[in-house]
Symmetry: C2
Subunit: 398 residues, 2 copies
């Protein structure tokens, strides 16, 4: 029997999804599982997205341009990015098969195998996956839950920077922390990238989920850093079109777009039906974003108050996205998360959360932490928090 590649053997299974079999088993027993483990929200997509799909006339489905249809790129430039203060042309944007592909292509464009990318820990776990698949080494800059995951000082970046460092990869607002980086934070990180000639890959897929008064500051607007910035975006969260698999890459650096175009040609084109609904979604009125934001502020406020009321639980209040990291009074949050699915029921209900260790690559970090996605309506979150609190109590007394 032939041997698998070392890569195939060593790549870790998704920490976010690996507890799924236990959740499915619980459901088969008739247990209601509250999914706080994955960023799969219940907000409706804009009416215009639904209409675009209904009005799409299909006889067959040909390929689109590898970079996405010109119509969609133009609409993104004119209807969305212009509105949020990002001035780009249709030559500076490429449509991806979701933000996942955008991150994958961006790291490949900056780094060869053996090169290094700096990430701010805890980070979106698939950053590690895409780096690993390409033989790229992730160098973490640590942030601490007790500091509210505050952006680290530039000294912390300097400390992990080596001659093999090619890029900084960050997520703003952050998954899994919900931290929002201010204009000043971004300027400091930008200055570090300029000094060391690094790319800055800025994942801004949660841009519309900022709950502070300050507007979101895109890395594309860092003065003088035009040639260094690769902005990664997605419609998955913005319009709740996770299944459409449409994202994009934006850069003022023409060489970057040319390189990513070559990578994109090999996979032929992004999903055409996803492009159709996205084109429609871009006609969403401002009220769509406003009401979504208000709803998430309610959910955040409820969830964080509930978490921090539980004995021994601490979670800093996130300024954006729809995640929070909570420290639990347990030794192993992974064991607790599995136990909730296999052993604990309150009135035939349980809760699924994501153990946070996989968001860190510093060994031993995050072992007591979980990530919670507050993507349910408040009445559902209320029940989920009751179940979580009762579960924690029972787990400690077991």
């Amino acid at each position: 029997m032939p041997h698998l590649s070392n890569k195939a053997v060593q790549i870790p299974a998704s920490a976010i999804r690996k507890l799924t079999p236990f959740a499915n088993a619980a459901k088969r027993e008739g247990v209601k599982v509250y999914h706080l483990n994955i960023g799969a929200p219940d907000i409706k997509s804009p009416r215009s997205a639904v209409d675009a799909l209904r009005n799409f006339h299909m006889e067959y489905l040909p390929y689109s341009d590898s970079a996405g249809t010109l119509e969609l790129r133009r609409a993104l430039v004119e209807k969305y990015y212009r509105k949020i203060g990002v001035q780009i042309s249709t030559d500076e944007i490429l449509v991806n098969t979701a933000g996942s592909e955008a991150v994958d292509f961006a790291v490949q464009t900056c780094c060869d195998a053996g090169d290094e990318v700096i990430v701010i820990e805890p980070y979106y776990t698939n950053y590690f996956s895409f780096a690993f698949q390409n033989g790229i080494i992730v160098k973490p800059v640590h942030t601490d839950i007790r500091d509210g995951f505050k952006v680290p000082s530039i000294e912390a970046f300097e400390a992990v920077c080596t001659p093999r460092t090619r890029a900084v990869l960050l997520c703003n607002p952050g998954n899994p922390t919900g931290v929002v980086y201010s204009r000043e934070d971004m300027l400091r990180i930008g200055e570090f990238c300029r000094r060391h000639d690094l790319f800055l890959i800025s994942d801004e897929v949660y841009r519309e989920f900022c709950y502070c008064d300050e507007p979101h500051f895109s890395a594309l607007n860092i003065p003088g850093l035009e040639q260094n910035v690769i902005m990664v975006d997605s419609v998955s969260k913005r319009y709740n079109l996770c299944g459409a698999r449409i994202g994009c890459t934006v850069s003022h650096n023409a060489e970057v777009i040319a390189a990513i175009t070559k990578l994109a040609q090999a996979r032929l084109c992004p999903p055409v039906l996803g492009q159709v609904v996205t084109l429609g979604a871009l006609d969403a009125p401002q009220s769509y974003f406003d009401s979504t934001r208000e709803e998430y502020i309610r959910r955040r406020d409820f969830t964080l108050a509930a978490l921090n009321r539980m004995e021994g639980v601490f979670s800093p209040v996130p300024g954006g996205a729809f995640y929070t990291i909570a420290e639990l009074p347990v030794d192993s949050s992974e064991d607790f998360a599995r136990w909730m699915l296999t052993d604990f029921r309150l009135d035939s209900q349980t809760v699924m959360v994501t153990p946070a260790a996989s968001f860190y690559c510093t060994p031993g970090e995050g072992l007591k932490q979980i990530r919670i996605a507050y993507v349910l309506e408040v009445p559902e979150l209320e029940k989920a928090m009751q179940v979580l609190e009762a579960g924690l109590k029972a787990y400690r007394e077991r």
Copy 2:
């Protein structure tokens, strides 16, 4: 300004798509361009696929399972693979974001950077792209147009096999040659793989386009090779759903499926709307395949007769797919293909073809050859062949 990775600089642009700017310029002048350059057919998708999309009720689009919805995997197993004599369970199939991703994940599962994969030359050019992106080396076994691209002897495979060889990657029926490998061919190649403990990655996306009397023989049915075979498939050509971006990987080797599942988790899920139309397409009646096949036999017969009537042109008659490689009486088919787009018009018409050199990695091979995709209706093909013949004459007399 930061430097791009060597990979990003060195990866070749798509040979199939790099002449597109010249075609677009011709179209802007009002020239009609016959696209024989890309496998983008005009056949309607099954009615059931169109209906599935129309009946899909969307409020928002959540992720599906990373492996594709269970409903779709079950339908593929029961409605399609069982019918064609491939016996698998839903645990042995994973839905991909098109055949492209299936090939990418398959080579990564077999090979680490520096490992080698044997391909039969001329091969689908993106096999090279996916290998290159992963640092994998492509070792070609040469086949010759004058032999009708007949499957090489096993000695030719032995000659390129080294201790770093991990897999054979083939396409049956073949893109770009249209060659169909017989049961005996496949058994011989299978025996070679078994002897050297190699994976056999079998790309069977053109399975329904076999014009011989013998039924298509899937690598999955090679006796005793169950643990070696990774079959790659796609609905792009089968139902003319190229833009849906849905393919799949099938293997009896549980380790292979487990490894590919990990790769699939990092990109979250395949396109959900593509899964919806595919589920519908699987209800296509046998008459859909029969009439499509008859249509392509007409197109093939017409195209090959026309080509071989042209002075100095030779193209062996393909047994499957919808491509053929033709040798032209020119020194550089790339120069000719570009010249057709930039300089030649017959009654304001021209033809776009793909230079074949990029389907070879042996230097100097294929320089006089083009690939033609006979994906238009016969009356259109008739005009395209007239234009091609006139273009060839004018090019030689220029």
